[in-house]
C-alpha cells in the first residue's frame, strides 16, 4: 500500500496578477495529523479549495493512494472520502442535529426517510468517538462546540477518512480545544488522515505530526513537528522573527475614563437579560480586557457602550460626562422617580466626538462600507469635520492626502491605494484600515472587540503593538477578546464574563489560562464581593 493517502504534486493556481499557489507539493500520510500553516493570504484556503474540487489547478496533479484523480467538485471529493469542517459551519439552523448529519445522504426506502436507521448509525458513531450530541436538538439551540461536533459527525457519517479541519479552534474554549485535540488523535490512531489548517502554533506543537508551511503562495517546507519549535515555525511562516510575548511596561493607570454602573442590556435572542447589572471602570493608560466565551453578553455590553443598542438600566460615564443614564421606571422606586431622573442616551456621533473609538467585532458588517473605496472608509468617522468638507461638499483632495498619510503610517496594503474598493482588500488589511481610522481619531477610550480575529501572527503582533502604544499614550483601552493568549498577553486587568455577569477579575500576571478557562465556562465564580468602585 502506498505510504501517502493524498499527494498534491506541484500544484499551481493562478489568479489574474497573482499566483496563489506556486508549485506547492503536499503529501499526507495515512494516519497522520498534518498541519498546514501560513499567514492570511499565504494560499492555504486556495490549496484546500483545490483539494476539495472548488478550483482546478493550472498545473500539478492530485493523487489518491498513488493514483491520479481529478476532483471537479466537492461531490467528487466526497466520493474519494475527503471531508471538510469549514471555519464557518455549513449547518441548517432550523434542522435538528440528526437531520443535518444525514443531509444529502439520507437513507430512504422508495423516497421515504429511514430516520431510525440514520439515528442508529449516528448514535453509534457519537458513542464510539465520544462526540457528545443530542440528535434531536435544533442547531440554533446548541453551543458552537456541539455544532462543531455535528460537523465532524457529518464527515464520519459519510465514511470520510481524509478529514480537513479549517481553523477549528477559533470558536472553542480551552477545555473544548483539549477535547478536540483528543478526538483528532483518536481519529489518527484509527488510520484516518487529518489536514489541520491553523495559524496557532501551540496547537500544532500539541497535536500535529508534521507541518507544511506556506508563505506568499510558495511552499516553504514540510517539517516534523518533533524536530522543530514555535520560533522556527513562525520564522518559516512570516519570514522573520516574531515576538510571542508582547513586551510592555507596567501600566500606570490615571483618571477614570469609562465608568459603567449597573448596566443591564436585554437580549434580542432570548427573554433573559444579556448583560446583568454589570459595573466596571477603565482608567486612562490601562488595557482592561473583557474575556469570555462567545455569546455571554460581551457583544451586547459593547453595543450598549458604543450606542448600537439601548440598555434597560444603568449608567455609563465617559470622561465624567454621562453618555447613558436610564431613568428608573415609575412605580418601582417612586421616591427617585419624583426626583425626575431623566434618561440620557447620547447618540453615537456625540460619543465619538467625546473621544470614543470603536473597533467593531464584525469588520464587514459594521466597520467598513465594503462598496466604498479605502479612502472613503478611512474618513467614515470624520468626513463631517471641516478638514474634509466645506459647506457640505467633500474636499476630495484633503481626503486623498489624509488617506495616503494613513496608508503609509499604518502600512495598509491594497491593489490601487486610496481608490481600492474595500471589498477587494484582504481581511488583515481591512482590519488595519479600521485600526488606523479609529486610532488616528486620537480617542480617549478605545473599545476594541476581537481586533485580531482571523488575522495571522504578523498582523496580530502589529495590532497588539498599536493597542499598547495607545495605552502608553494615556488612552483607556477596553479590549474584548475570546483568545485567551491575547487576553493574558496584552491586558493589564482581566474581567471574565459568564452569562451576562462579571464572574471574576484577575491580574494577568497572577493567573493562568486554565484558571480563566474555568471561570469562562462557568465552573467557578469569585464569591467574594468584587470591589465596585
Amino acid at each position: 500500500m502506498n505510504e501517502y493517502v493524498i499527494e498534491m504534486l506541484n500544484i499551481t493556481k493562478e489568479f489574474p496578477g497573482i499566483r496563489a499557489n506556486d508549485d506547492i507539493t503536499l503529501r499526507l500520510r495515512r494516519g497522520e495529523i498534518h498541519a498546514l500553516l501560513g499567514e492570511n493570504g499565504a494560499g492555504k484556503s486556495t490549496l484546500m479549495s483545490v483539494l476539495f474540487g472548488l478550483y482546478q489547478p493550472e498545473k500539478g496533479v492530485i493523487k489518491k493512494d498513488g493514483e491520479i484523480v481529478r476532483i471537479k467538485d466537492p461531490n467528487d471529493a466526497n466520493t474519494l472520502n475527503i471531508g471538510m469542517v469549514h471555519q464557518h459551519f455549513k449547518l441548517v439552523e432550523v434542522f435538528t442535529v440528526l437531520e443535518n448529519i444525514i443531509l444529502g445522504v439520507e437513507p430512504n426506502k422508495m423516497g421515504f426517510l429511514q430516520k431510525k436507521v440514520a439515528r442508529k448509525k449516528v448514535v453509534e458513531l457519537s458513542e464510539r468517538y465520544g462526540l457528545k450530541i443530542d440528535p434531536d436538538a435544533l442547531i440554533e439551540n446548541i453551543s458552537v462546540g456541539m455544532q462543531q461536533r455535528v460537523e465532524i459527525l457529518k464527515m464520519l457519517y459519510r465514511d470520510n477518512d481524509i478529514l480537513i479541519f479549517d481553523e477549528p479552534t477559533a470558536v472553542l474554549t480551552p477545555q473544548e480545544i483539549d477535547e478536540l485535540m483528543q478526538i483528532m488523535r483518536s481519529f489518527a490512531a484509527e488510520g484516518k488522515s487529518i489536514l489541520f489548517i491553523t495559524h496557532k502554533l501551540n496547537e500544532i506543537m500539541a497535536v500535529a505530526d508534521r507541518c507544511t508551511v506556506l508563505r506568499k503562495g510558495k511552499c516553504i517546507g514540510t517539517v516534523d513537528v518533533k524536530d522543530t519549535d514555535k520560533v522556527k515555525l513562525s520564522r518559516m511562516m512570516v519570514g522573520r522573527d516574531v515576538e510571542f510575548i508582547v513586551t510592555k511596561d507596567d501600566a500606570t493607570p490615571g483618571d477614570v475614563v469609562l465608568d459603567v454602573k449597573h448596566l443591564t442590556v436585554p437580549s434580542k435572542s432570548h427573554k433573559n437579560n444579556a448583560v446583568k447589572d454589570v459595573s466596571f471602570q477603565v482608567r486612562a493608560g490601562e488595557i482592561v480586557c473583557l474575556a469570555g466565551i462567545e455569546g455571554n453578553g460581551q457583544t451586547e455590553c459593547v453595543y450598549a457602550l458604543t450606542g448600537l443598542e439601548k440598555p434597560s438600566a444603568g449608567t455609563i460615564t465617559l470622561k465624567g460626562e454621562p453618555i447613558v443614564l436610564i431613568g428608573r421606571k415609575r412605580g418601582k422606586q417612586s421616591a427617585e422617580a419624583l426626583g425626575k431622573v431623566k434618561t440620557i442616551l447620547m447618540p453615537i456621533r456625540h460619543r465619538s466626538k467625546l473621544g470614543m473609538s470603536h473597533i467593531p467585532e464584525d469588520r464587514q458588517k459594521f466597520g467598513l462600507v465594503l462598496d466604498y473605496s479605502l479612502e472613503q472608509n478611512l474618513v467614515l468617522q470624520r468626513y463631517w469635520e471641516p478638514t474634509f468638507q466645506k459647506s457640505g461638499f467633500i474636499r476630495n483632495l484633503s481626503v486623498r492626502q489624509y488617506a495616503e498619510k494613513l496608508i503609509k503610517q499604518y502600512d495598509i496594503r491594497s491593489g490601487q491605494g486610496p481608490i481600492t474598493s474595500a471589498r477587494s482588500m484582504s481581511g488583515g488589511n481591512q482590519q488595519k484600515a479600521i485600526v488606523a481610522r479609529e486610532l488616528d481619531k486620537n480617542p480617549e477610550l478605545l473599545v476594541a472587540v476581537q481586533p485580531t480575529r482571523g488575522l495571522d501572527v504578523g498582523a496580530i503582533e502589529y495590532i497588539h503593538h498599536q493597542l499598547i502604544a495607545a495605552r502608553d499614550k494615556g488612552k483607556g483601552v477596553f479590549l474584548v477578546s475570546l483568545e485567551l493568549d491575547e487576553v493574558v498577553n496584552v491586558s493589564d486587568r482581566i474581567l471574565v464574563m459568564y452569562e451576562g455577569e462579571i464572574v471574576g477579575e484577575f491580574d494577568p500576571k497572577k493567573t493562568t489560562v486554565e484558571e480563566l478557562g474555568l471561570f469562562m465556562a462557568g465552573a467557578k465564580k469569585q464569591t467574594a464581593e468584587r470591589t465596585v468602585h
Binding site: F15, P16, G17, I18, R19, A20, E39, N40, G41, A42, G43, S45, T46, Y55, R215, K216, G217, T306, L308, P347, I348, R349, H350, R351, S352, H358, P360, K365, F366, G367, L368, V369, L370, D371, Y372, Q376, L380, Q381, Y383, W384, Q389, G392, F393, I394, I407, D411, R413, S414, G415, Q416, G417, P418, I419, T420, S424, M425, S426, G428, N429
Partner: protein
C-alpha cells in the same frame, strides 16, 4: 495591449456602460425574434422603423426628447432611492401627485409655469415622505407602502380634480368629460416655454423640459458624488449597519432620500403635463411613466448621468414602436417594447455577471494580495 484592456475593464463605470450596452443588444435581438414570430412578413420593416424612426425627422426626434424628460425624472427618482438602499416603486404615485399639484396651480390658481413646477416638486416630495417615515420609524417595507400610496394618490387626485369644476376641460369649452383643461386655453402662462425650439425642430412637442430634466440629473449627480449628504446616503444604502456605527442618522437619511426621490418624480409629472400636449385623464389606472422609471434607473445602474441616456433609449424605442403601426397592433408593440426594456433592465444582472468573473478572481487574489502586491507597486496604478 492586453494589459491596457484589462485596466479599462477595471474602471467600474466602464463595466456598467458595457453591461447596459450588452443588455440593450440582447433586448433588441429578442424583440426582433418576437416580431418574426408574430408577423414574419412585416417584421424586417417594422424592426427598421423601430430602431430608426427617432432619428428620421426632427419632429420624431423632438417627440423622443419630449417623452424622455419625464422619464429622466422618474428614473432619477428610482435611482436616487436605490443609491440609499430603498426601492421606490412609488414613483408613479409621486408623479401623479406632482402632476396634480402642477395642474391645480396652473388651472385653478392661474399660476405661471415655474411656480407650477415648484408645486409639482413639493407634491412629489410630500408623497415620498410617507413611505420614508414608515420605513424609518416602523421598519415597514417601503415597497408595500409605496404601492399602497400609488393607489391612494391616483384616487385622491381623481377625486380632487372631479370636485374642482374649473379643472375640467368642459369648463373651458372642451368636449371631453374626463380630462383636465387644455392648458393653452386655460392658462398659457403655465405652459413650459418653448424658446423657439418648436419652430427650430418643427414640432409642437418641443420645449425646454428636457433641459430642466438634465439640470436635475446634474443636481442629483452632484448631491450623490460630491457632498457629505450624498456620502451619508450612499453609506446607508451600501451598509446600513456601518453607517449607524459611524454615527450617521440613518432614519433621517431614509426619510430625506424618499423625499428627494419623490420630488424628482413629482417634477416629472409637472414637466409632462405642463407641456400642454397631454391632458390628465381621469381613469382608474396607474400612470406608466412612474413605472418606466424603474427600468430607466436599472439600465443606468442608478447613475444620474447614465439616467439621461437610458431615458433617451427607452423614449426612443417608444417613439419607434409607434411607427410600427399598422403592421402590428398597439398592444403587440407594447409587448415588444416591454420585452426590450425588460431585458435592457437586466443591465444590473449583466454587470453582476461581468463583475462576478472579475470579483471571483479578485476575491481569491485578495487573500494573496497583502503578501504579493507590495505597496510601491500600488502607487503606480493610482496614476
Amino acid at each position: 495591449m492586453e494589459a491596457k484592456k484589462r485596466r479599462t475593464l477595471r474602471i467600474p463605470g466602464s463595466t456598467s456602460i458595457l453591461a447596459s450596452l450588452i443588455s440593450i443588444g440582447v433586448g433588441l435581438i429578442v424583440g426582433l425574434i418576437l416580431l418574426y414570430v408574430l408577423n414574419a412578413k412585416a417584421a424586417g420593416g417594422a424592426f427598421i422603423s423601430l430602431v430608426t424612426t427617432g432619428f428620421r425627422s426632427t419632429d420624431k426626434f423632438a417627440k423622443m426628447l419630449y417623452q424622455a424628460a419625464p422619464l429622466i425624472m422618474t428614473g432619477l427618482s428610482v435611482g436616487f432611492a436605490f443609491k440609499t438602499g430603498l426601492f421606490n416603486i412609488g414613483a408613479t404615485g409621486q408623479y401623479t401627485v406632482g402632476a396634480a399639484f402642477a395642474l391645480i396651480g396652473a388651472i385653478q390658481f392661474q399660476l405661471p409655469w415655474y411656480i407650477c413646477l415648484l408645486l409639482a416638486f413639493i407634491g412629489g416630495a410630500i408623497w415620498g415622505i410617507f413611505p420614508g417615515l414608515f420605513k424609518a420609524l416602523y421598519n415597514v417595507n417601503e415597497v408595500i407602502t409605496s404601492i399602497m400610496f400609488n393607489w391612494i394618490a391616483m384616487f385622491a387626485v381623481n377625486l380632487t380634480i372631479n370636485n374642482l369644476p374649473m379643472m375640467l376641460a368642459k369648463y373651458w369649452g372642451g368636449a371631453q368629460m374626463d380630462r383636465t383643461a387644455n392648458l393653452a386655453q386655460a392658462n398659457p402662462s403655465a405652459l413650459i416655454p418653448r424658446m423657439g425650439l418648436d419652430v427650430l425642430m418643427k414640432s409642437n412637442y418641443m420645449n425646454i423640459s428636457i433641459f430642466i430634466a438634465i439640470i436635475f440629473a446634474l443636481i442629483s449627480w452632484v448631491i450623490l458624488s460630491k457632498t457629505t449628504f450624498g456620502y451619508e446616503l450612499k453609506a446607508c444604502g451600501y451598509n446600513r449597519n456601518a453607517s449607524i456605527y459611524a454615527g450617521i442618522n440613518a432614519k433621517r437619511n431614509i426619510v430625506l432620500s424618499m423625499v428627494i426621490s419623490g420630488a424628482f418624480a413629482g417634477v416629472g409629472g409637472g414637466l409632462y403635463f405642463l407641456a400642454g400636449t397631454g391632458q390628465y385623464t381621469l381613469v382608474k389606472q396607474l400612470l406608466s411613466a412612474g413605472f418606466n422609471g424603474i427600468p430607466v434607473a436599472l439600465l443606468a445602474t442608478s447613475n444620474p448621468i447614465g439616467t439621461i441616456f437610458s431615458a433617451f433609449f427607452v423614449s426612443y424605442i417608444q417613439v419607434g414602436g409607434d411607427a410600427m403601426q399598422p403592421d402590428f397592433v398597439k398592444e403587440i408593440i407594447d409587448i415588444i417594447i416591454s420585452v426590450i426594456i425588460y431585458l435592457a433592465a437586466f443591465a444590473l444582472l449583466t454587470r453582476e455577471l461581468l463583475a462576478r468573473g472579475k470579483q471571483r478572481r479578485a476575491d481569491d487574489a485578495a487573500d494573496a494580495m497583502d503578501a504579493i502586491a507590495p505597496a510601491p507597486e500600488a502607487k503606480d496604478e493610482v496614476k
